[in-house]
């Protein structure tokens, strides 16, 4: 076997690459070394194929740089395939002679292109294309043209091999054969392949790049960003990435509320929350000073402010967790506070997630019970859940891709998984108001992405009003249009 080519590292530095004004890869920072094999993944429209194409030298670099790309790069993708077929059809159109063009035969497509005819020959046999060598390329089926492309690319002995969804549409035997062949050349060529499904990932893959899309305005179009790179050796991160992809690509929508136990109906003409001149004070220290704030149904809010500006205090006035809610003028969910209502009558309308809650959630109970406890606003379970509640909890676990962890103890989970479960717990009853108090606090990149993906899913599929507290500018949630900024009083 040939030794690995002495390749420079491929280095993308804040590379912004546009493709026909339709799509832009935005500020990609990425390094590929010669002994690495990458999978590029992400939800639809995130720019996976664009990134693959950029490695093949396509697209217009708007800013930043891409350095170290080798000269001999092969890419197999639907776009490249379509282009090749288009070229062939063009030849047909261009034929002004009144004869029927037969088009380029498969043999010519393969052998004229490649460096290693011997290898090409053996691949033709392996792929079972022997009988088709004389057939016109453009007469082949999609699957067959894909095989031709793969043979051309492999037999050309590239210094970088880029495969965009190489396993799509291949039958089982061909798939196994291709995987085996790729495994046999891992020491000779670095590979980058776009894959949507983790279970197709070959064992030799060493790293995974995860892209996600950011919605742009009408002029700029959508943008793809490289959000994360994960080393395959890092099992925990790898599993989380799997979960993230699942969350981003699953068609499952947020489970319904419990039909057997509906929340009381709220008067639609009243605001959900109305604080009038709300003040929180300890001794002479004023934490919140005469705050007026009304949250109407369907108005998603972001609450921001520096540490110590009283964000959590304001929230706890709403949730009833602050003792001074009894000395303030607070109207919540039809109750003027301090008139004989219990906090459980208030809490039933609220889903709540915070770092504090996670710290306080220290009972030893199963993941499934943590979700179900959202129906009772309790930490831990003290009541036997109904069948309907159990079913809904199972649906949530499925969305989270955590079905296999249903009975595992909550406190043994990773910090990020715990957070996801607590968000599901908050949403399980479809509360009129969902309060997310710094839901990404303390999470690493990948878990941050996971949490945001889940919240986005929730915002899409329910009538819940979201109150989002955050000071990380990058963790935006689409759909929030109202902002309240608190100042530090002291």
């Amino acid at each position: 076997m040939d030794p690995l080519p002495l390749l420079d590292n491929i280095h993308l530095s804040k590379a912004t690459v546009s493709f026909d004004d339709r799509f832009t890869l935005s500020e990609i920072d990425w390094t590929i070394t010669s002994e690495q094999h990458w999978v590029i993944t992400g939800p639809n429209g995130a720019g996976k194929s664009a990134l693959a194409a950029a490695l093949a030298g396509m697209g217009d670099i708007q800013s930043g740089s891409i350095q170290g790309l080798p000269n001999n790069v092969e890419i197999v993708s639907f776009e490249a395939q379509a282009e090749l077929i288009a070229q062939e059809l063009k030849k047909d159109d261009a034929d002004i002679m009144d004869v029927i063009s037969l088009g380029t035969p498969v043999s010519e497509m393969i052998f004229d292109h490649c460096q290693d005819t011997e290898l090409a020959q053996s691949l033709v046999e392996k792929f079972g294309l022997g009988k088709l060598l004389d057939r016109a390329f453009r007469k082949l089926s999609t699957g067959e043209t894909r095989k031709v492309m793969l043979i051309r690319a492999l037999a050309n002995k590239p210094d970088l091999l880029i495969l965009d969804e190489p396993f799509d549409g291949l039958d089982v035997d061909t798939l196994a054969m291709l995987q085996a062949h790729l495994a046999s050349i891992i020491d000779t060529v670095p590979m980058a392949m776009v894959l949507n499904r983790f279970d197709e990932m070959p064992d030799f893959i060493t790293h995974v790049a995860y892209l996600d899309k950011e919605r742009g305005d009408k002029q700029s179009g959508d943008k793809g960003r490289l959000k994360l790179t994960v080393d395959r050796q890092d099992d925990a991160a790898f599993n989380e990435l799997y979960q993230l992809l699942h969350l981003k690509t699953t068609d499952l929508s947020v489970p319904e509320a419990d039909p057997t136990n509906k929340l009381p109906t709220l008067d639609p003409s009243q605001p959900l929350v109305k604080l009038t001149q709300a003040t929180i004070q300890y001794g002479d220290t004023v934490i919140v000073d005469k705050l007026d704030w009304t949250i109407e149904r369907g108005q998603h809010w972001q609450l921001s402010g520096p540490n110590g500006s009283g964000k959590t205090c304001v929230l706890s006035l709403i949730t009833g967790d602050h003792p001074q809610c009894y000395t303030n003028d607070i109207f919540v969910f039809g109750f003027q506070r301090g008139n004989g209502e219990s906090i459980w009558q208030i809490k039933q309308f609220i889903g709540y997630v915070s770092t504090n809650l996670q710290w306080e959630y220290r009972v030893s109970t199963s993941c499934k019970n943590v979700i179900i406890s959202g129906f009772y606003d309790s930490i831990g379970m003290y009541t036997k859940p109904t069948d309907s509640q159990k079913k809904i909890a199972d649906q949530w676990l499925e969305i989270l891709g955590m079905q296999d962890r249903a009975d595992q103890p909550f406190n043994k989970l990773s910090y990020g998984d715990q957070r996801l479960l607590l968000i599901a717990r908050a949403m399980v009853k479809h509360p009129p108001l969902l309060i997310l108090d710094e839901p990404c606090l303390g999470l690493d990149d990948i878990n941050r992405q996971l949490v945001l993906a889940l919240i986005e899913k929730i915002c899409q599929g329910s009538e819940t009003t979201v109150l989002y507290v955050n000071h990380h500018a990058e963790d935006q949630i689409t759909g929030i249009e109202h902002y309240l900024g608190l100042e530090k009083n002291n």
Partner: protein, 490 residues
């Protein structure tokens, strides 16, 4: 005032002592209805007063605090506790006359003076509530005939009463009605509503009598709960140091060991606690505990006799009258003990190691629990009461030692408990002196170092049978079953 218990005929004494019933959830179907719209005024704003008040208010009830004028004028801690939590605070004269229910949550020692001040101010037909019956039973306080007198006693420190409520649960609670003061027959309804308001009904409520509560509570707290743990801590620590074990390790083994071994007690009684040991260690612990029981039985009998006869309360009240001279002297001595002064070392002790290296501690807990239970039931207290006041509460007290050693325990428990603990410790340390001479580090500090874990079959069967057939195990398994039904962590 004469000791109320001693004024009753024997038949009535026995009938009162025999009261204790685990109440069914359905008995709380009316929720807080009986207290809705009524004015509840709390006297005392310490841990119980504040936290019970917070719970009751969050359950939709009207709660305010009556404090002595000095506390208000000098803005003492009790005043701060109440006002910062948004409660109405006033003097006795301002608030008591308006109260439908007066909650006396002051320390036992102050009861006589508080009740004497409050009673004339209370309106006709109102209710006076206690959380401990000492004042009625031991001091013989006579309450105005038109007033209803009840007891609602959460069986946990105040901080836990609040924490469990916030989690959506509660703590086990004992309720009672003073039969001499139930003119309108509404005592039970009020006590039940009060228990619901603090969340107690979710964790289980025991219906008892003032007398059963006082006589069993005093016995439990001064012997097994506080006395045994205090004595055991001091003796075990000094022995380990004498045996050459690192003081930091010894300190940690004891400080957290009680909590760990009694956690096993909480889940499965004395049987489960000993089942956590290897077979040879179990037999060793059993033998040690039998020896301890023989030595300590006269002491337990004396404590119970003195409680029943009123001698204990008489000597304690004498010490109260003498400015707590004995108690304060002892408290200072405790602070100077080697165990108290040696911080827990920075060493890792696994959960199992606490059992393996703490055989003597397991034996002491077993001996104390069984002796206290046996002595109480022999004195006419029924098994249910005896179980709660011995085995059930041991983990709660052990938990306070884990937090800050004996200081925390003595700071958290009531003044009567601390005085009882003093008496017990004072007598028990010399009583066990000879026994401790025979103790080596194999049963405290290092664990048995055996080549194999073989034991004699017949002896093991004997020990297992003895453990499992002790009467505290029979009643315990039934009561834990009720609790588990309520706390169904499915």
């Amino acid at each position: 005032m004469a000791n109320y218990f001693n004024t009753l005929p024997l038949r009535e004494q026995l009938a009162q002592l025999a009261q204790c019933r685990f109440m069914h959830t359905a008995e709380f179907a009316d929720g807080v209805e009986a207290l809705k719209g009524k004015k509840m005024v709390v006297i005392g704003c310490g841990a119980q007063g504040l936290n019970q008040g917070l719970n009751l208010r969050d359950s939709g009830l009207d709660v305010s605090y009556a404090l002595r004028p000095e506390a208000i004028e000098q803005k003492r801690q009790s005043w701060k506790n109440a006002t910062e939590n948004g409660f109405v605070v006033g003097t006795y004269e301002e608030l008591i006359p308006t109260a439908d229910v007066v909650l006396n949550l002051t320390p036992d020692k102050q009861h006589t003076s508080v009740v004497n001040t409050v009673m004339p101010l209370m309106k006709e037909g109102a209710c006076l509530s206690y959380s401990h019956g000492f004042n009625i039973v031991e001091e013989g306080m006579k309450i105005r005939d038109d007033l209803t007198v009840i007891m609602v006693a959460p069986k946990c420190p105040g901080s836990e009463v609040r924490a469990e409520y916030v989690r959506g649960f509660g703590v086990p609670t004992l309720i009672a009605v003073h039969e001499d003061n139930d003119p309108k027959g509404e005592g039970l309804a009020l006590a039940k509503a009060y228990a619901v308001g603090t969340g107690g009904h979710k964790a289980g409520v025991l219906m008892s009598s003032f007398i059963a509560e006082v006589k069993s509570d005093l016995m439990g707290e001064q012997t097994i709960l506080c006395g045994m743990l205090q004595t055991g801590s001091l003796l075990c620590f000094d022995k380990m140091v004498e045996e050459g074990i690192d003081p930091g390790y010894a300190s940690r083994l004891i400080q957290y060991g009680w909590e760990t071994v009694t956690e096993a007690l909480k889940y499965g009684g004395v049987t489960n606690m000993l089942d956590r040991l290897s077979n040879p260690a179990k037999i060793k612990a059993f033998d040690l505990s039998e020896e301890l029981k023989d030595i300590m039985r006269p002491l337990y009998n004396k404590h119970q006799d003195d409680i029943m006869s009123g001698h204990f309360s008489k000597t304690m009240m004498e010490d109260w009258a003498n400015d707590d001279a004995n108690l304060l002297k002892w408290r200072a001595e405790t602070a100077e003990t080697n165990f108290e002064k040696t911080p827990a070392g920075d060493v890792e002790i696994s959960e199992q190691e606490f059992f393996d290296n703490g055989i003597l501690m397991v034996a002491m807990v077993k001996a104390g629990v069984e002796l206290a239970f046996e002595t109480m039931t022999a004195a006419g207290i029924i098994a249910e009461s005896a179980y709660y006041e011995s085995l059930h509460e041991t983990p709660l007290i052990a938990n306070t030692i884990a937090r800050k050693k004996l200081y925390e325990m003595n700071a958290t428990i009531s003044d009567t408990a601390e005085y009882g603990c003093y008496l017990y410790n004072h007598a028990c340390v010399p009583l066990l002196a000879d026994f401790m001479k025979g103790i080596k580090s194999d049963v405290i500090g290092k664990g048995l170092s055996l080549d194999d874990n073989g034991v004699d079959n017949a002896r093991l069967i004997e020990v297992n049978t003895a453990l499992r057939s002790h009467p505290v195990e029979a009643v315990g398994s039934v009561l834990r079953g009720y609790m588990a039904d309520m706390k169904k962590i499915v």
